[in-house]
């Protein structure tokens, strides 16, 4: 795990966690991604371009052919495929955030009948494999519904949004709970002693202070989610990986096509998520200082 590069070699005391673990880093993924130097992107592109030239110079399917196949299919892969990944990630984030915030607020509710189910819900979906959740949702939901004689088909990608929303929701729930708990208890007491009701305290005093702290981990989850959208190809959703496979098949399944096509998918995900990760780490640093 690569953390922020140390400015000194002085020993530091890590945040105290009563359970004895070292406190988890809420934006670990973004920190890892953002820790890559900017030249990784052109490097990856260069590898992609040069690899077939080196590895398959002697093959009967030439480097030029593979590259031109990729260029031919590129608009299709990007505009039909990757764009769907982005759409899925955005919708998932909207639903995941909405329900995650509700669940997170539920987790700090003083009423046990709200708090305990919210905690169980959060832990179950946070600790389930994403792919399993996707399959459950795919198989549990019908592919079409009939309302008053009208058959409405449910496109696969909306089911994928549903399936991915579950773990995102659970993780956003933890982000919200963590941010609320990070506000010093003195703020609650001060508000209480000024006769604010609990709801007013939460909405007027506590949540406005949490909002900034929640943005970096929230963006971190967006990057993780986007990277996870190719899982949907296993459900047959026509996103970038599915379409790349289809394109390779249409080009007679030459094994030489695998690296250019999937390498291109890697590149485009990296190009999309890397700036988000850099931005996340920047925001985290900026918000860290002020209380």
């Amino acid at each position: 795990m690569i953390r922020t590069p140390a400015k000194t070699n002085l020993p530091v005391m890590l945040p105290y966690d009563p359970t004895g673990r070292v406190a988890a880093d809420p934006i670990m993924f973004s920190r890892w991604l953002a820790s890559m130097p900017i030249w990784v992107l052109p490097m990856m592109a260069a590898c992609l371009v040069l690899w077939p030239a080196i590895a398959h110079a002697a093959s009967n399917y030439s480097y030029g052919q593979a590259t031109s196949a990729l260029f031919k299919w590129m608009p299709f892969i990007v505009l039909d495929g990757f764009l769907l990944n982005v759409v899925i990630s955005l919708f998932t984030m909207i639903f995941g955030t909405f329900f995650g915030v509700l669940l997170g607020l539920g987790q700090i509710s003083p009423a046990g009948w709200i708090r305990i189910p919210a905690k169980i819900f959060t832990q179950v979906f946070r600790n389930s494999p994403w792919l399993v959740l996707l399959f459950v949702v795919l198989l549990a939901l019908p592919f079409e519904i009939t309302i008053g004689g009208v058959i409405i088909s449910i496109p696969d990608w909306t089911k994928a949004v549903f399936g991915l929303s579950l773990p995102v929701m659970a993780n956003i729930s933890e982000v919200v709970r963590g941010a609320i708990n990070s506000v010093p208890s003195g703020q609650w007491e001060a508000a209480e002693s000024l006769a604010y009701s609990r709801r007013q305290t939460l909405w007027l005093i506590i949540l406005p202070q949490c909002f900034k702290r929640m943005i970096p981990p929230w963006m971190n989850w967006y990057a993780i989610l986007t990277m996870a959208t190719p899982l949907c190809s296993l459900l047959g959703v026509e996103e970038i990986i599915t379409l790349s496979r289809q394109a390779i098949e249409a080009e007679d399944n030459h094994p030489e096509l695998l690296v250019p096509f999937f390498g291109f998918a890697l590149l485009i995900f990296f190009a999309y998520c890397y700036p988000i990760a850099r931005w996340t780490v920047r925001l985290e640093r900026r918000f860290q200082v002020k209380l």
Binding site: P184, A190, A191, E192, S193, L194, Y196
Partner: protein, 251 residues
């Protein structure tokens, strides 16, 4: 409501045989004291003697296990207590100021009257500006807590509490976290309040200050009130050995 029977000649705050435990640790072992309207009392004593816990029980931030606390005749520790009504009467200022960091000084002061007392914005703002002036911070209305010194923040906190127009003010070691040079400005503010007739209950380590403004001093140690009396008698003629020892250490 029992407080219909309350008249100003009865104690404003009355504490009787209060016991309070945190788990198996009993921090208050039967404490009683009365505070009349307009009176200023100081609670002093060594660390861990239960001073802060006691005043936090008065506005129900802590609960108690036995005994009773009444504010204007209203029992504080009962199921049917309307906590919000109680806290409108009891203002509190904390050691760590606890200003709302995302609001300016003015907003900190005027927010509760608007949101809790449902006052109009204009009225609340007028009161808030007057209070900020009263704590000698005019010109700092637009400053965020992070931009103010500790002493200034604490004075905003006092103004914020006063904006609710409380009948009694609780001060919980309000100068303990301050730099020595800013302690005085906060003490002057409290003194002004006391002289205007505000009922004040202070937990403090400032003995000179306690002697100057208090009508009555209570000395607590290990969860009980060891000795109490008017400042002159208390400081110059302490009877209990524990009080004498404490005073000899700090005076």
């Amino acid at each position: 409501m029992p407080n219909d029977n309350w008249t100003p000649d009865q104690p404003l705050v009355s504490i009787k045989d209060v016991r309070k435990s945190f788990g198996s640790l009993e921090v208050l072992k039967g404490v009683s004291l009365d505070v009349m309207k307009g009176e200023v009392i100081c609670i002093i004593g060594p660390s861990g003697s239960g001073k802060s816990t006691l005043i936090r029980c008065i506005n129900a931030l802590n609960d108690i296990q036995a005994g009773s606390i009444t504010v204007e005749g209203q029992e504080v520790h009962t199921e049917k207590l309307d906590k919000l009504e109680l806290r409108k009467k009891v203002g509190m200022v904390f050691q760590q100021y606890n200003l709302f960091p995302h609001k300016t000084a003015l907003e900190n002061v005027m927010m509760a009257p608007i949101k809790v007392l449902r006052k109009s914005k204009a009225e609340a703002e007028q009161t808030a500006r007057a209070l900020i002036k009263k704590v000698r911070l005019d010109g700092k209305e637009g400053a965020y807590p992070g931009e103010l010194s500790g002493g200034q923040q604490q004075r905003v906190a006092i103004a914020r509490s006063l904006a609710m127009n409380p009948d009694v003010m609780l001060f919980d070691e309000v100068t303990a976290a301050l730099d020595p040079e800013t302690v005085k400005e906060v003490l002057v503010t409290i003194k002004d309040l006391a002289q205007e007739g505000m009922t004040c209950i202070l937990v403090t380590h400032e003995m000179g200050f306690a002697r100057e403004i208090a009508d009555h001093i209570y000395f607590t140690d290990r969860g009980v009130i060891v000795e109490h009396g008017p400042p002159a008698t208390f400081f110059d003629n302490a009877q209990d050995p524990r009080t004498k020892e404490f005073l000899s250490q700090i005076l």
